[in-house]
């Protein structure tokens, strides 16, 4: 049971929910940029959400099944086909031995995910399979690699109603310990400004641009390096915000104006180049309620899964299906 990588984009890595507990050693959590996509994949495959998947930044690849395998496709929609026939995104599919899965460029958003039925069973490092390229943990998946799933059985051909989070939008933030370094006028302007995602973005962070003056803190250059949380919005020397993502550093000297809530981090990470983003402050109490609601929603995703009913018009090559026997074998 495995999938061999024939071609692949330059920024595809194996990701799960990341590794916690190494902040004091300077190692940030890493993990999927869009955590929701991991949960959606798990729901489609009826597996636990702690399995590892292939995270594809911007561009997918071509994969050949060396044996039958279930897959699911979630996150930023990408063009996908099996042996040349387009297949649905936000859905699970069965790949028969020898079939080729092609995943093209992202259509909206930034990060697409390819899940295997048993998860991608690489050797965990410090309790997680997540690559953390900024910390030199793991590496990008390359052509010729084999993705070996863990043990698996179950159905395929399911779809999930995914939340659209691929075009930017409003990100809810809480004040953090350095928010008070910014004066009231700057904070009000920050909340009123529409930002655009800049060209500099990777798993460490995402730059935002805006018209008008930047957003500087008082005494910006004389701040002692302090702890960083993923989701922190850091103001660089030029007053341009960066949203810090799973491979951020663990401490930093640039002041952070606010922190994006975990429930809105998938939307933040999936903002495409040029996409518009606004920030909205919520109280800490409200943030905790939103967080609880988010976790509850993730736990209930399996109720949004339903069979992928095929319209014959959507099947471009009807003759390739064994319509007589009524069975498309997944094993021969």
């Amino acid at each position: 049971m495995s999938l061999i990588v024939r071609r692949i984009g330059p920024a595809c890595t194996i990701q799960d929910q990341g590794r916690e507990g190494y902040l004091d050693q300077g190692l940030s959590r890493s993990g999927a940029a869009d955590l929701r996509a991991l949960y959606e994949g798990a729901a489609l495959l009826r597996r636990k959400p702690d399995l590892a998947a292939l995270e594809m930044a911007g561009m997918g690849g071509e994969f050949e099944a060396l044996s039958p395998v279930r897959i699911a496709l979630t996150g930023a929609p990408m063009q996908a086909s099996i042996d040349g026939s387009p297949v649905a995104w936000n859905a699970s599919h069965a790949l028969a031995k020898g079939q080729r899965l092609s995943i093209g460029a992202v259509l909206r958003g930034g990060y697409g995910y390819l899940h295997l039925g048993g998860g991608i069973a690489t050797e965990p490092f410090l309790g997680s399979r997540s690559a953390h390229l900024a910390a030199r943990v793991g590496r990008a998946v390359a052509a010729g690699d084999t993705l070996v799933p863990g043990p698996d059985k179950g159905e395929a051909g399911m779809k999930i109603a995914a939340e659209d989070r691929f075009g930017g939008g409003t990100l809810r933030v809480v004040a953090s310990f350095q928010t008070a370094l910014f004066d009231a006028e700057t904070l009000a302007r920050f909340e009123a400004t529409e930002f655009r995602r800049g060209p500099r973005a990777n798993r460490m962070g995402m730059q935002l641009d805006s018209d008008g003056p930047g957003f500087s803190a008082k005494g910006q250059l004389n701040i002692l390096s302090e702890v960083i949380s993923p989701g922190d919005i850091q103001m660089t020397g030029t007053g341009n915000p960066f949203i810090l993502l799973p491979e951020c550093q663990t401490t930093g000297g640039y002041p952070r104006i606010a922190t994006v809530l975990p429930c809105d981090l998938p939307r933040a990470a999936q903002t495409p180049p040029g996409g518009a983003v606004r920030f909205q402050f919520v109280s800490l109490d409200e943030a905790v309620s939103l967080h609880a609601a988010w976790l509850k929603d993730l736990a209930r995703l399996s109720s949004r899964v339903e069979p992928l009913v095929r319209d014959p018009h959507d099947i471009p090559d009807l003759l390739s299906y064994q319509l007589i026997s009524g069975v498309v074998s997944a094993t021969d």
């Binding site: 916690e20 050693q25 953090s176 002692l224 809530l261 975990p262 800490l284």
Partner: protein, 249 residues
């Protein structure tokens, strides 16, 4: 007139963190307080706490806000702070002293002369003083396992370089602002490259993965280049010839 001193200061960090800050500058005392307080947090073992860490002058706590409310964490931190004078608290037990063989200067560490001059010392005296300095792991960060060490004596309060050095190798010993760093991997830096070790701070695939812990102490003892070559040829465990001993509590 006395200035209002807000420290120690408890503040929230994002959705799920609290920070206890002991000063707005790194001093021996504020770092000691942060390490001791974090040690106490660790020992307290509160349910719902996910992890803790220290930065130069703060202790950080991350918790599950659905199991432990912010008000509850704040109250517990305030109570723990009131228990003692953390600026005078002993450092946590279980700390180690590392003695790391180091080549000072030569073409391996070409900015020693420059650093000595900035410190107002001749090269021989700089090596003598650095070689017997015992520094503490103030915090770990920037790269996995990478220690910020100090404080050095006041003469080593030398500024960072304006121009970044494009690349120094793993194990480089660099100096600025009364601190040392042993680099965990090749990196550009504005700190002066004064020594070279074969000490690996981050050892993926080995046990332990991280060589150091905050509060550990280090000495960088001068050796000749030939000795480092010999150490490098037999450095499977990544210790770079360092010896380690427990620091008595």
């Amino acid at each position: 007139m006395t200035r209002f001193d807000p420290f120690p200061l408890i503040r929230s960090v994002g959705l799920d963190g609290m920070l206890v800050t002991f000063a707005d500058t790194m001093t021996e005392q504020s770092n000691r307080a942060a390490l001791a307080f974090r040690g106490a947090l660790h020992e307290a073992g509160w349910e719902g706490v996910v992890e803790s860490s220290t930065s130069l002058a703060s202790a950080y706590l991350r918790f599950d806000p659905l199991r432990l409310s912010h008000a509850e964490v704040q109250a517990r931190l305030a109570a723990l702070l009131a228990e003692r004078d953390w600026y005078a608290a002993p450092l946590p037990s279980g700390r180690k002293l590392w003695r790391v063989p180091t080549v000072y200067g030569t073409d391996l560490a070409p900015q020693l002369e420059d650093a000595a001059m900035a410190a107002g010392l001749d090269v021989g005296e700089a090596i003598r003083r650095l070689g017997k300095s015992r520094v503490r792991v103030l915090t770990i960060g920037f790269a996995p396992g990478q220690p910020y060490l100090g404080p050095l004596a006041p003469e080593f309060d030398i500024p960072r370089l304006q121009q970044l050095t494009p690349m120094v190798p793993e194990g480089a010993l660099v100096c600025a602002i009364r601190q040392l760093i042993v680099f965990a991997g090749p990196t550009p830096t504005g700190w002066r490259h004064i020594g070279q070790t074969a000490f690996r701070c981050f050892r993926p695939g080995m046990e332990p993965t991280f060589a150091l812990n905050p509060g550990d102490e280090m000495m960088f003892e001068p050796i000749e280049r030939a000795e480092l070559d010999h150490i490098r040829a037999h450095n499977e465990d990544g210790t770079g010839g360092a010896t380690v001993e427990e620091i008595a509590a």
